[in-house]
């Protein structure tokens, strides 16, 4: 490019350690950080000019405070990077801590802003809640009379995008990265399941690692490798408008930028006028006919679409009344790629080893790419990161998520997701029924209101069959307080505790591991800290740990036979668990791993009468003496044969999960309903399961803990068997931790003095204070009808107030603290519990 001060030689090297495709901010950040980690031989290929895809069009907003701690950490890493680049390269990046004001028109948004404020306080970010009057004083040019208030985040910043990318390119180049422009990557070739070379229109490069940072083109590029790599993202049109200067007033250009999230709008001062843009309530997918290639130096942009911009113009004119007479300078329209859940995509592709992806930032590339590039570089160079990145992991998607039709449908809804009020237990409306289990229609007839996880439709709760869809809609209305579905879930909960319920568990990931000799056992013994050389017919709850002792996956494994195991993993681990195990399969092919997820329906029959009801349908004795908890039997149930029954319910109640071959699932379900009629059998959804499991402190992977969590930190000491005689992965890390003690602990907390009818509920991600000092965050919570109290699960850390050092969390430390939770600015006392209360078979006091 004309202003390039880095080398862009057109000689394509024959080989490189890493090839990065894409010269946007994601690719440049990854390249820079790889070089910083000592990788000298890095080649970055850009099909057009550096930073010409969508990066150039970014408005320069760098919002530090995000909804999740993970993304807040990333944006702070980005901020630190951009500020450090000035010193490193001498290029002024224009980084400027201008601050931001989120204004709230609705009470619900104010709740969310109060929650953010509470988080900011816990995470050490400078923020302040504003009243309507404060907003008016701070921003006299906006209309404030219809506002409930606002949140000022002083740490939010803005930056000159073009300069940042220029600086990144220079810094990467200075550190030895080869940056090549006008080279199109055609295909990524692998051999033996690993990336071997990259074919371009100028020849090919052999490489050890390939990084797909191709932005808009990332999905297409993924499909251009063999096997295909899934990068589910789709471009939407994103617009912003720049006005002519406003004559009647002076803007100093240094004021905070404004987010009017109820109007999906952001407003910035810009050259004496304004720059404003935002998100469409219904996004507009572009490039259906295929993506344009970027051969020339032109920036990629779309023709302006005023009709699509109307609602933002309306919101802006409402918010800035004095701008009604001003003329427009230009309406910019450029594509941005969005993913099915609005989070970006990072990590090693499950399909090809050493194929890495970083894309799908959905207009937040500037904010996250600085940090994400560092994260990815560590993953590539070191093999792991110290931060869990599951929320953005490329492995969080199912194969169906890469369907073009699905993506087009879903991203319309996703565009505005970061500006919409983040109600708890939110369900996507579009792109549904991606994966429907065999009982889907039956459960629908039974009044199921479905939610979706990993594309699978699962019942959240059940309405009475004569309730209307309108009612179902009503019960799903977002709220931060007591939800509309409360009574429905409560009655399901009691049915589970007192009689018998049927729960669809088909979504769970089901894998089968077999071998001729004892290779399968040997493999599992190496993968799992628990002892898998157990009696045939037992079910072992274990995890699979990485070298650092963290849970790569959490599972229940049934030993069906000497050399045959049935592995049940959480729904969301469909790809991840399979990938983890298959990466460790012996190279000689002696162990076979099969994914049976879509071949079996899962039906949880739980409650004190579960065994009685099931017994009517089978001749095998199901008494608790003959079929003990945590064991496995293959049963004939009704007309069905080969039903895999495991005496675990994932809810802590008596009963069992049946894994039924798909084709017989409806018959078994019907037979169970009939057999259980006299016991009052009924359907229950997974919200009831949540209540049951949270009350009993059952921690879930991906929600409560992640790949950085060790068994000791979540009270699973008993499931680590050092003495089983096999060196399992993570053993040394666990031994070390056992020596040193844990620095954090996942606990249960019982909420006191909280009125579930009038107070806001905790929903997870609330800060926990111990003796007035921030000591952790909740992960999830639920109401426990037996105790009549809210239970939160959450992390507790022990930070020395003076030195900031992390100390051991001992039972003494846990028991001796005074705990509080901050729910949207209001503090409630908590009781910390290492173990759940014994709920037993106690009859409820409930009417």
């Amino acid at each position: 490019s004309q202003d390039a001060d880095h080398s862009t030689t057109s000689d394509l090297p024959q080989r490189a350690r890493a090839v990065i495709c894409g010269g946007g901010i994601a690719g440049l950040s990854t390249a820079y950080h790889l070089a910083k980690l000592g990788w000298k031989d890095v080649v970055l290929l850009e099909q057009g000019k550096l930073a010409s895809g969508t990066t150039w069009n970014a408005s320069g907003i760098l919002g530090i405070l995000r909804r999740s701690h993970f993304r807040t950490r990333l944006s702070r890493m980005s901020y630190d990077l951009y500020s450090q680049l000035e010193a490193e390269t001498g290029i002024q990046t224009g980084l400027h801590r201008c601050g931001s004001v989120n204004i709230g028109q609705t009470k619900d948004l104010m709740v969310e802003l109060q929650k953010r404020h509470a988080n900011a306080k816990a995470w050490g970010i400078d923020s302040e809640l504003l009243s309507m009057g404060d907003v008016h004083r701070l921003l006299p040019w906006i209309r404030a009379d219809d506002l409930e208030g606002g949140l000022l985040v002083r740490d939010d910043a803005s930056v000159q995008v073009k300069e940042v990318t220029r600086a990144l390119a220079k810094a990467a180049n200075d550190r030895g990265v080869t940056l090549l422009e006008n080279i199109e990557v055609k295909r990524v070739v692998s051999s033996g399941g690993r990336v071997s070379s990259v074919h371009t229109d100028r020849g090919s490069i052999e490489c050890e690692a390939f990084v797909n940072c191709a932005g808009l083109w990332a999905r297409a590029l993924g499909l251009a490798s063999s096997p295909e790599v899934r990068v589910p993202l789709y471009p939407l049109a994103q617009q912003y408008l720049i006005t002519k200067p406003i004559k009647s007033r002076t803007l100093d250009g240094n004021g905070p930028f404004v987010r009017d999230m109820d109007s999906l709008l952001y407003i910035q001062e810009h050259s004496g006028g304004f720059l404003f843009g935002g998100y469409a309530p219904k996004g507009k997918p572009v490039f259906e006919e295929g993506l344009p290639l970027k051969k020339d130096s032109e920036h990629i942009h779309l023709p302006d679409d005023w009709d699509h911009f109307r609602h933002l113009l309306e919101g802006f004119l409402h918010r800035v009344p004095q701008a009604s007479d001003v003329q427009f300078e230009k309406l910019y329209n450029s594509p941005e790629s969005f993913t099915p859940d609005g989070e970006f995509i990072i990590g090693e592709a499950p399909e090809v080893r050493n194929y890495f992806v970083l894309a799908g930032f959905g207009s937040l590339g500037l904010t996250h790419a600085g940090g994400a590039g560092e994260l990815l570089a560590r993953l590539i160079a070191i093999g792991h990161t110290n931060m869990d990145y599951w929320p953005v992991d490329v492995q969080r998607f199912s194969p169906q998520h890469n369907s073009k039709a699905f993506l087009r449908a879903r991203v319309k809804e996703i565009e505005s997701i970061h500006y919409r009020v983040a109600y708890p237990a939110f369900s996507h409306r579009t792109g549904r029924k991606l994966r429907c289990p065999p009982l889907y229609s039956r459960l629908g007839q039974g009044g199921a209101v479905f939610g979706e996880r990993m594309g699978v439709e699962r019942p959240k709760w059940y309405m009475a069959p004569d309730d209307t869809d309108e009612f179902a809609h009503e019960t799903q209305r977002g709220t931060f307080g007591k939800p509309q579905w409360f009574g429905l879930v409560e009655s399901e909960y009691w049915a589970c505790r007192e009689s018998v319920c049927l729960m669809d568990m088909s979504a769970f990931t089901k894998l089968e591991l077999t071998s001729l000799g004892n290779e399968a056992t040997m493999l599992l013994q190496r993968l799992c800290p628990n002892d898998l050389d157990c009696p045939i017919g037992s079910v072992v709850h274990t995890g699979m740990l990485n070298e650092r002792g963290g849970y790569e996956c959490d599972c229940s494994i049934a030993r069906l036979d000497t050399n045959r195991y049935f592995i049940i993993c959480p729904t969301i681990q469909l790809v991840k668990a399979h990938h983890w195990i298959s990466n460790h399969l012996p190279p000689d092919g002696s162990v076979t791993l099969r994914d049976l997820t879509n071949q079996y329906a899962g039906l949880n029959v739980l409650g004190p009468k579960a065994r009685d009801v099931l017994q009517k349908l089978t001749t095998t004795s199901l008494s608790s003496a003959d079929f003990r908890p945590f064991s496995f039997k293959e049963l004939n149930v009704g007309f069905a044969t080969g039903v895999k029954a495991m005496t675990i319910t994932h809810a802590g109640e008596d009963g069992m999960v049946l894994y039924i071959p798909n084709e017989t699932a409806v018959q078994v379900y019907d037979a169970l309903l009939e057999a259980g009629k006299d016991c009052g059998i009924r359907n229950a959804g997974y919200y009831a399961l949540r209540w049951l499991r949270i009350e009993k402190f059952y921690f879930y992977w991906g929600e409560d803990f992640d790949s950085t969590t060790t068994p000791y930190e979540i009270g699973r000491d008993m499931r680590v068997k050092f003495d089983k005689g096999v060196e399992f992965i993570g053993k040394s890390a666990l031994l070390k931790q056992r020596q040193e003690g844990v620095k954090r602990q996942l606990l249960g907390f019982i909420l006191e003095d909280h009125n579930i009818n009038t107070d806001l509920w905790p929903w997870g991600r609330e800060p926990i204070y111990r003796n007035g000092q921030h000591a952790g965050m909740t992960t999830c919570s639920s109401y426990g009808p037996t105790q009549g109290k809210m239970t939160c699960l959450g992390w507790l850390t022990n930070r020395d107030a003076d030195t900031g050092q992390m100390l051991e969390v001992t039972p003494d430390f846990v028991n001796k603290g005074q705990y509080e939770i901050d729910i949207a600015g209001k503090r409630f006392p908590l009781k910390a519990r290492l173990y759940p209360s014994q709920l037993g078979a106690k009859q409820p006091t409930h009417g």
């Binding site: 679409d305 113009l313 004119l317 009604s324 007479d325």
Partner: protein, 438 residues
């Protein structure tokens, strides 16, 4: 379920039916007329369709003519009127000196007609009768030249004269036979009838001559105002009090209960003015003599005492066009059965607003304020997005398949797939012409 519930017509088939007769003409700027564009379309219900349309520009003046014709008792009369009326009007309105010159050119064959037609490729032309038509037109011109003009007549009167003259010629041609044989075509023409609504646009003067129940509506929009529909014709039917009064007063007092009965002329004919229809015009004796041998003895309507009961004389409304007058809708009653004039004007208004949707909206001027742009965008949002490039098609589509502010394909598909034997009970022929002014 409807008996036709199993019939399914795809959206593509619907389009192919709707597009069959559409015509869009961008009028050449060099013509110096105030008409910018016109769009027209027809959808038949009767088989053969009884509606006709015609558009033409006058050769010797800058005026333009647009007509819609709603035939009844067969298409014969509407066909002939559509081929001849505009020539008659052109002949009548010519200034005396131009008329003399035109007659000279006409006589020596330099001029075959007084108008240039804008034709649809499927337009039917009665080739075998052109000689007769030209002969009658020539005679009309000669008659006009023969009159010693002292001063120009008013345009409105001219339009009335030309209508009357054509109707008179039709009658005369039907009666005259060279050898006493049955004058097949001439008699069929006048045995059937046709309402006519013709717009004559000469610079900023708009004259609408209407005879019958077709209707002309002007779409007007002043700066920042909503669209308004201005009627520039009156329906001549039994709902029109003045019209009923006119007919009753023209006949004997004792006929007042029979001359218009059950909302119809002599209990039979819905429109109260029309070309042809000599059964309501000719004397009993003439009908006995000419019609009975061919059409039977029951031709003469009941209570037929003081003919003529029916006239072809149009009611002419003059309107001086202003910049706010954006377009004129001419349509047969098939459209007005389904749409109010207000709705039709709004639909065309929205169409004007949205017609650049393919090339997408762009603020017409960079000088517009954000507020002005926002108002335009809001109007576009409220509008029904047309699927058609031809606004006449858009109106027909909405008339048959429109609900509130959207189209219902099933309604449209059901309407279009009705079998021939019942379709007339659900909808009439529809002819729409929309004329956009500069």
């Amino acid at each position: 379920q409807n008996w036709y519930g199993h019939l399914t017509v795809s959206p593509e088939q619907v389009n192919s039916i709707l597009f069959r007769n559409e015509l869009t003409v961008e009028v050449d700027d060099s013509k110096g007329t105030s008409v910018k564009t016109f769009m027209t379309n027809q959808l038949g219900s009767n088989n053969p369709m009884e509606d006709r349309r015609a558009e033409a520009e006058c050769i010797l003046t800058k005026a333009m003519l647009f007509g819609v014709f709603d035939g009844h008792h067969g298409p014969a009369c509407a066909q002939v009127v559509s081929e001849r009326l505009l020539n008659y009007i052109a002949a009548e309105v010519l200034p005396y000196d131009v008329l003399q010159q035109a007659l000279r050119m006409f006589n020596n064959g330099e001029l075959r007609e007084l108008v240039n037609w804008y034709q649809h490729p499927k337009d039917y032309v009665s080739d075998d009768r052109q000689l007769l038509f030209r002969h009658s037109l020539g005679q009309y011109m000669r008659d006009n030249v023969a009159i010693d003009f002292q001063e120009e007549d008013k345009k409105a009167d001219m339009l009335m004269t030309s209508f009357d003259r054509l109707d008179k010629d039709l009658s005369a041609e039907a009666v005259s036979t060279s050898n006493g044989e049955f004058n097949d075509e001439g008699l069929h023409t006048v045995f059937s009838g046709a309402c006519a609504c013709v717009a004559y646009v000469d610079a900023d003067d708009l004259y609408v001559a209407n005879a019958g129940d077709c209707r002309a509506v002007l779409g007007r929009q002043s700066e920042g105002e909503p669209w308004s529909a201005i009627a520039v014709s009156n329906d001549h039917n039994a709902q029109n009090v003045d019209e009923v009064k006119r007919i009753r007063s023209a006949h004997r007092l004792d006929e007042s209960s029979t001359v218009i009965k059950n909302g119809r002329l002599l209990s039979e004919l819905a429109p109260l003015r029309a070309f042809g229809d000599v059964r309501y015009k000719w004397s009993q004796s003439l009908q006995h003599q000419v019609l009975n041998p061919w059409f039977g003895a029951n031709v003469i309507p009941k209570n037929y005492h003081t003919p003529p009961y029916l006239i072809a004389t149009p009611e002419v409304i003059h309107h001086r066009l202003t910049p706010a007058d954006r377009f004129l809708i001419l349509a047969t009653d098939g459209l007005w059965d389904c749409l109010t004039p207000e709705k039709a004007v709004n639909l065309v208004g929205d169409f004007l607003l949205m017609r650049d949707k393919v090339g997408h909206f762009h603020p017409p001027s960079a000088a517009m304020s954000l507020e002005q742009i926002h108002q335009m965008l809001s109007r576009r949002k409220a509008a029904l997005w047309p699927r058609d490039d031809n606004v006449a098609t858009h109106l027909i589509r909405y008339a048959l398949g429109g609900i509130h502010n959207r189209f219902d394909h099933h309604r449209l598909a059901n309407t279009l797939s009705l079998p021939d034997n019942v379709v007339r009970q659900y909808r009439d022929d529809i002819t729409v012409t929309v004329v956009f002014f500069k």
